[in-house]
């Protein structure tokens, strides 16, 4: 892989970005539409001294990742909805244990077996946490292969800085989409982080270290949660990312993340050319939710249309962020045949909101 510009499936772009940034361990179990990641790492990780480990279940996947992370090395696990369900216990555990890792959920239709095609129905599970307890982890929602590459070094940095699992989510349509990508931003950074201060590498030249997420006194649990909440607060203050377009005089704003964000941006650009005062927001971090951009919206905004491949999840965060200052409506669609993101329907909704 000498060349920097390649034509690849987004799941493979994710895998190649991991390799180039210095991640050497990938744990996974076959599941559509995330299997392409492990197929790629199985074929390529050994060339750089890494290893793809196919575990017997997603339970084993996330716990193998836990053990690897305890050694101070950064690993990754990729999956899709039903497998992500099974990993929740382990993700909560890793968060409590302050173990960094990179996770990927290629979202499909659910609940249950649902359908193997794409959706954005795991927004709640990603941002609220599917495990028990109070915890938040950074969640990145790239909208293109290029953005996966751009975000990978950022995600790695946040995983080490906050000592936390970091999650990427993309819908299954995007996961299987093939596009041109430039890998120049994917620089090796993993080896530059020193984990010697906390890793469990054997009690040589120091006292023993024990990884404990349980309580021996009731104050232990209290302290752990306080620490996690302080991290979440710091992330909320510093880590919000979003893309915005033409908000200055907007009357209507379209908000969408991931692939629907890309579709909506094009529609908004189209309408702007017609002179309609429409703006656009695409959250890139789902946690922390980019509430700053909503706080800074001009008074001219009277309506926000949230578009998702689900029946109304992120829209709840938008409503919290605007806190009644303007109307918030939602258009959601899940599954069916292509195109799963119905641009025509978005255009119709906008036409109703902004009469020509």
């Amino acid at each position: 892989m000498e060349s920097n510009t390649l034509f690849m499936k987004n799941s493979e772009i994710f895998a190649e970005a991991m390799i180039r940034c210095g991640i050497r361990y990938h744990f996974a179990y076959p599941i559509t539409p995330a299997t392409d990641v492990m197929k790629y790492t199985a074929a390529h990780f050994h060339k750089v001294g890494g290893r793809m480990f196919q575990a017997e279940s997603e339970l084993a996947v996330i716990n193998c990742l836990t053990g690897l992370a305890a050694t101070g090395q950064l690993g990754c696990a990729s999956t899709s909805g039903p497998g992500f369900d099974l990993m929740q216990e382990g993700i909560g555990f890793m968060t409590a244990a302050e173990l960094p890792c990179i996770l990927l959920d290629n979202m499909r239709v659910g609940p249950g077996d649902g359908d193997i095609i794409g959706s954005q129905q795991d927004y709640f599970m990603a941002t609220r946490g599917g495990s028990h307890g109070d915890y938040y982890i950074p969640v990145y929602a790239p909208a293109s292969g290029q953005e996966i590459v751009d975000l990978m070094p950022v995600a790695i940095d946040r995983a080490f800085t906050y000592r936390t699992p970091v999650l990427f989510v993309m819908d299954g349509v995007m996961a299987q989409m093939i596009e041109t990508v430039d890998f120049t931003p994917a620089k090796e950074t993993v080896s530059s982080y020193d984990t010697g201060e906390w890793s469990y590498t054997g009690a040589k030249d120091r006292g023993k270290r024990a990884l404990i997420t349980g309580s021996y006194a009731h104050s232990d649990g209290e302290q752990m949660v306080k620490k996690l909440m302080a991290k979440a607060e710091a992330m909320t203050a510093k880590e919000q990312l979003w893309e915005e377009y033409e908000l200055e005089d907007a009357e209507v704003v379209v908000c969408a993340f991931g692939l629907p964000g890309r579709v909506c941006r094009e529609i908004v650009q189209e309408r702007r050319k017609q002179g309609e005062k429409i703006g656009f927001i695409r959250p890139i971090t789902l946690f922390p939710f980019p509430e700053k951009v909503f706080a800074g919206l001009p008074g001219s905004v009277r309506e926000i249309l949230v578009v998702e491949m689900n029946y109304g999840q992120m829209v709840q965060d938008v409503r919290l962020a605007v806190n009644g200052r303007c109307n918030v409506s939602h258009y959601g669609h899940v599954g069916g045949d292509q195109p799963m993101i119905k641009a025509r329907e978005v255009r119709n909704r906008l036409a109703a909101l902004v009469p020509a």
Binding site: E56, L59, G67, A70, T71, G202, K208
Partner: protein, 243 residues
């Protein structure tokens, strides 16, 4: 002994076998000079106290997940010494799938299953290892094979797996058996150190509290009734040493 915190008061009940197992592990770690590069992964249950009395790095895994945690750890640090310390609830019930796959894969870790036939920490409920007609709070009329199945012979299940380098059922029922258990455990440790594959020891141990028995009676039951169903035996030894 540097590895074992003898001065600490155990939080295990009087007569519990976990203390004996911890002592054996500590002695072997010292004798083989492993302390600097040992990591113990404990499960949830009374086995989870194991590392409190050990001066070694330790990870407390989620219930039943010690083995994949140890697997991931060993991938990251293949020259470190890794063992799991789990009860029969953790290892044979909720964590059975992970045990079987690690064994079959020949993952070079050592798994110690302290088998006392009940869920000790939560109050002596039925485990996969509870004997037929044994009463527990969740089988108050005694374990019934028709309702609950027979005690799960975990060691026997792994006999045909090529990945297993050492496999034995040991016991702490008598001083002689404790000495024998140490030898078996030494072979299991050696199997890992020599990168021969997966090593597993099941150590029969009493739970006087969970069994509602006096300590002396519980050791007698372990030596007789339990050993009749789950015999002390070495199943596989690719290390070749005496045990």
């Amino acid at each position: 002994m540097k590895t074992f915190r003898e001065e600490k008061n155990f939080s295990w009940c009087p007569g519990c076998g976990h203390g004996i197992v911890a002592r054996l592990c500590a002695e072997l770690i010292e004798e083989n000079n492993l302390r600097d590069r040992t990591c113990c992964v404990v499960g949830i249950g009374c086995g989870g106290f194991h590392h409190h009395y050990m001066e070694i790095d330790a990870l407390e895994a989620a219930h039943g997940r010690s083995i994949p945690v140890a697997t991931g750890y060993k991938l990251g640090l293949p020259d470190n010494f890794v063992y799991t310390l789990q009860g029969d609830g953790d290892c044979a019930s909720i964590g059975l799938a992970e045990l079987m796959h690690a064994a079959n894969r020949g993952t070079p870790i050592t798994v110690i299953m302290v088998n006392n036939g009940v869920f000790g920490m939560t109050g002596g409920q039925m485990s996969p290892e509870t004997l037929i007609s044994q009463k527990t709070p969740t089988c108050p009329f005694g374990r019934d094979a028709k309702l609950h199945g027979n005690p799960l012979k975990v060691s026997e299940m792994m006999q045909e797996m090529d990945g297993v380098a050492y496999l034995a059922r040991l016991s702490v029922a008598t001083p002689t058996l404790v000495r024998k258990a140490k030898k078996g455990l030494a072979q299991a440790f050696k199997a890992q150190e020599e990168k021969l594959g997966f090593s597993f020891v099941e150590i029969l141990s009493p739970c006087p509290t969970g069994w509602n028995m006096k300590v002396v009676d519980s050791y007698q039951r372990l030596a007789k009734e339990v050993a009749e169903i789950l015999p002390v035996k070495e199943f596989i030894n690719k290390v070749g040493g005496e045990s």
